[in-house]
């Protein structure tokens, strides 16, 4: 089934490269959740995330000829989304705890999910520096391993690991502090 999906994607890609717009729409449908999801958790604003995600697909449309396979497409989309988001975060004032996450659209809550805990975690991720945030999102949202994250963000794998460790420590400390106050 996975192989079939990959074949379909390769086919969509080569049709899109020959100018088939329906095939390109198929590629957008396949990857929009990942691209928009990464953008939303990076920027924490639905309108900015939508704009960024659209920009990513526009860039893809113009760079289609450089994409060699469905796997390469996934890698390309993650790299461009993360880099664009980091650039935009550097240009803008950071999101503060007060304005978070007025516009963010969470996924439909699971039955046993604790909404307060989820909101707190989202806020803590939003407080991370742009690069550390991208690392955490690629690890826990896109499910990439540190080697792949290093390739996507063009940074040494040890830097990725240290970002992950420091970010988890930061979150753990927050909860430990909270427990201490209780």
């Amino acid at each position: 089934m996975l192989l079939q999906a990959a074949n379909n994607e390769d086919e969509d890609l080569s049709r899109a490269q020959r100018g088939d717009r329906q095939a390109f729409a198929g590629l957008v449908r396949t990857h929009q959740r990942a691209v928009y999801g990464l953008a939303l958790r990076m920027l924490n604003r639905a309108d900015l995330a939508e704009e960024l995600a659209q920009d990513v697909f526009l860039k893809l449309f113009h760079a289609l000829r450089d994409v060699t396979s469905a796997d390469h497409l996934k890698f390309w989309l993650r790299r461009v989304t993360a880099n664009l988001a980091i650039d935009r975060l550097r240009q803008k004032t950071p999101v503060t705890a007060q304005d978070f996450p007025a516009d963010a659209e969470p996924a439909a809550p699971e039955n046993d999910a604790d909404p307060l805990l989820q909101k707190t975690l989202q806020r803590l991720v939003a407080e991370l520096a742009p690069q550390a945030r991208a690392v955490v999102l690629l690890r826990y949202q896109a499910d990439l391993d540190p080697l792949d994250i290093a390739e996507v963000l063009e940074m040494p794998v040890n830097t990725v690991k240290s970002h992950l460790k420091r970010s988890l420590d930061f979150m753990r400390d927050h909860f430990a502090e909270g427990a201490h106050h209780d």
């Binding site: 100018g19 717009r21 390109f24 729409a25 957008v28 449908r29 929009q32 959740r33 928009y36 999801g37 939303l40 958790r41 939508e50 995600a53 659209q54 697909f57 526009l58 449309f61 659209e105 969470p106 996924a107 439909a108 699971e110 999910a113 604790d114 805990l117 989820q118 909101k119 975690l121 989202q122 991720v125 955490v136 999102l137 826990y140 949202q141 499910d143 988890l168 979150m171 753990r172 909860f175």
Partner: protein, 102 residues
Amino acid sequence: MTEELEKELRRSLRVDDPGELFTRRVMQRLPHEHRVASRRWLTWSAGLAASLLLVFGIRQQVLEQREQAAGLRAKQELLEALRVTSGKLDLAYQAVDKENET
């Protein structure tokens, strides 16, 4: 603790698919084919016009150079003719002078 935290992180970072409207908005932002075609036509036309101008300019320059060369040649021929005529006149004067002396 770490495993639990990682599990909660995965859960809290999930985002729903933005849906078909998002796909449509992306497709609306793509450059339209006829616009692409007309832009390509415009580029071709501009290129053709520039080439024609270049050819016309070069042709004009060659014609001017030819005219200048022809003018120069005519001037030289005229000067040569004048020089020859003046030489002949000198000879004629000398002959007349000699006759007068005798």
